[in-house]
């Protein structure tokens, strides 16, 4: 109880609350602009967090991401253009409602169920994280090896269209993680004699490059054309909230559970949660024929899921230091910088910080309702801001952010290199998320593998000898094997 009170004391300060509000507004703007993702909002926010205390820094990232995921629904509904990939699954459905003159119902449902979904995910985080942390205290390098590998496997086989291209992305990320002197033998690896590279590739400039710079190159190449925004008159978005909750509570609960579960799964995040939930909603619906014609049922389920996934993704991030999605991948980097090293010991040594994180999640999701409603009023005005002005400004912000990491031009060089890499990867339909996870988990994977092999004297079977390690190992191998088995089955069916 003392830790909870200490956590409250950490959060209920004017600077933390102000940071949460400003970060929410920032997330709202970035999320509402199509092409700019929630991950990009977080990557751009990171350099600013250097100058904050740990709790406001974490608060900024939580509130910014929660708001950005919701805000992605605004252009999806008004223009059929998802603001973030997490809204893509149901943007057609939302837009169909707008065409039917029901934009306020769609947007009202988005605000309400996003907030409720976020609160559900938070509740699961609050209950499960400390329990898992207790179990994780007994984990050794064998278990961490399998957890890291499972995170990477999920990112490839769940998150991307082509598993081969997902693997290419992953191996590129693993290669980046191998650069530097921080390896089992302590020898400089792939540093090309450059002293900057001895410490490895700085994660934050790499993220700014992969997520923000690549998008800037693409948009400027296209001439940064403005969107044609049709003025949609919005009525009262609060209309019918009670009826929606009463009528669609099973969809909401199912969306919340699916979203949180997918969020917890390492490597899969809000966008996948929304796709899966939308498909599930249609499958279980009593009126599947209404889907695609502007029906609120699928919207409720998937908008609940994507915000629930955000909180869910924090479970493996806090407990094991393994990111649940690309947003938590960046967050983990910031936690290390702030001395809040994620892992089960964080729950023992620093419980007040953990409770502060939980409280911030609750505040951020509650604040989403008034801020979201205000944003709906400003929604179309926001979308009229000329992209020709906005995109170059974002590039300048990227440059300054990458510079601020070490106060050196090396960060800008890294950002540029990774910006070009991210741009080329997306041009070739190579997903970025597995690469990011490879960079984050590469060191853990290598260290846990080599440590385990030294402990087991080279015996590979040792990875299955401890009960939890064995279970995790079988699950990981299944994640790898099931898609291959499915592909083989499809090929056989096609042959016969």
């Amino acid at each position: 109880m003392n830790a909870v009170l200490a956590g409250l004391e950490l959060v209920l300060r004017w600077d933390v609350i102000l940071t949460i509000l400003v970060a929410s507004a920032f997330g709202l703007v970035v999320g509402a602009i199509p092409g700019l993702t929630a991950t990009m909002a977080i990557a751009l926010l990171v350099p600013i967090t250097f100058f904050m205390d740990p709790i406001p820094a974490v608060g900024a990232m939580i509130s910014c991401s929660a708001m950005a995921i919701f805000a992605g629904d605004i252009p999806a509904t008004l223009m059929r253009m998802p603001g973030t990939p997490a809204s893509a699954a149901y943007s057609d459905e939302c837009y169909a409602m707008t065409r039917k003159g029901e934009a306020e119902v769609a947007l009202g449902a988005n605000v309400l169920f996003s907030a409720l979904g976020g609160l559900f995910g938070t509740a699961v985080l609050i209950v499960s994280a400390p329990l898992l942390a207790e179990i994780a205290l007994g984990f050794s390098s064998f278990e961490y090896f399998w957890l890291a590998l499972m995170g990477l496997a999920c990112a490839i086989f769940i998150g991307s269209g082509s598993p081969v291209k997902g693997l290419v992305s992953l191996f590129l990320g693993l290669f980046v993680a191998q650069i530097g002197i921080d390896n089992p033998a302590g020898v400089p690896r792939f540093t090309f004699g450059n002293s900057n590279l001895l410490g490895g590739v700085d994660f934050i400039p790499a993220m700014i490059g992969l997520f923000a710079m690549s998008e800037v190159i693409r948009t400027i190449a296209a001439g940064a054309p403005d969107w044609s925004v049709r003025q949609t008159s919005l009525g009262n978005p609060l209309k019918g909230w009670g009826r929606l909750i009463v009528k669609y509570w099973p969809q909401q609960i199912r969306g919340n559970i699916t979203g949180t579960a997918i969020g917890i799964l390492p490597g899969a995040g809000a966008d996948i949660a929304a796709w899966v939930s939308y498909a599930m909603s249609r499958k279980f619906s009593k009126t599947p024929e209404k889907f695609g014609t502007g029906h609120v049922e699928g919207i409720i389920e998937s908008t609940s899921a994507n915000n629930a996934a955000l909180a869910g993704a924090w479970v493996p991030a806090l407990v094991f230091g393994i990111p649940g999605d690309s947003i938590t991948a960046i967050v983990i980097g910031v936690l290390y910088l702030k001395g809040l090293n994620p892992g089960p010991t964080l729950f023992l040594n620093n419980p007040e910080s953990i409770y502060a994180v939980f409280i911030i999640f609750i505040i951020a999701n509650l604040a989403m309702i008034p801020l979201g409603l205000a944003a709906l009023k400003a929604g179309t005005a926001l979308l009229r801001f000329p992209r020709r002005i906005l995109i170059p400004l974002i590039l300048l912000f990227c440059i300054v952010g990458a510079y601020a990491v070490n106060n050196s031009a090396y960060g800008v060089v890294l950002m540029l290199v990774f910006g070009i890499l991210g741009f080329l990867m997306e041009e070739h339909d190579i997903p970025i998320a597995p690469c990011v996870l490879g960079i984050v988990l590469g060191k853990m994977l290598e260290e846990s593998f080599v440590t385990s092999m030294i402990k087991a004297d080279g015996n590979l079977l040792a990875f299955f000898e401890r009960p939890i390690a064995g279970g995790l190992g079988v699950m990981t191998l299944l994640v790898f094997c099931l898609p291959l088995w499915g592909a083989l089955k499809r090929r056989r069916a096609a042959a016969t």
Partner: protein, 155 residues
Amino acid sequence: MRFSDLILGLLLLAGAAVLFSAASGLPPIPGQAYGADVFPVLTAAGLAACGFILAVGSVRAGPFPLAQATWVRTPGAGFRAAATIALVLAYIALTPLIGFVATATVVLTGLFLLVRVPVVQAIGIALATALFTYLSFNMLLRVPLPRGLVEGFLP
């Protein structure tokens, strides 16, 4: 700019070969079978396998026109992409010489002109943004952006 899966696969195979040869030269941990070379070698093997699958899949599928992204069809797209990269390179080269404010103004103006913002508007917004960014980062966030030409004029 998009390569076919065949070229992409061949590039990955070449990259894997380079990585493999670089990894083979890494010294082992004395007395241990697993050293600094294990993961790079596994990564090289993985990249090579992916490259092989992509290349073979592309050959099997036969020649077909590549689907280019929509932005490629915009006139001058390649030039604008290259110019954006060149402007960031110019930023890296010029900041130590003339400082942040001047470089950021030049780079931003260049970017604005690339996307057809009128010249006067471009210079005005660029200068105002550069000054605002410099002051807020230098004074509020304590990021020592290079002073250069504004040395003595601004804090």
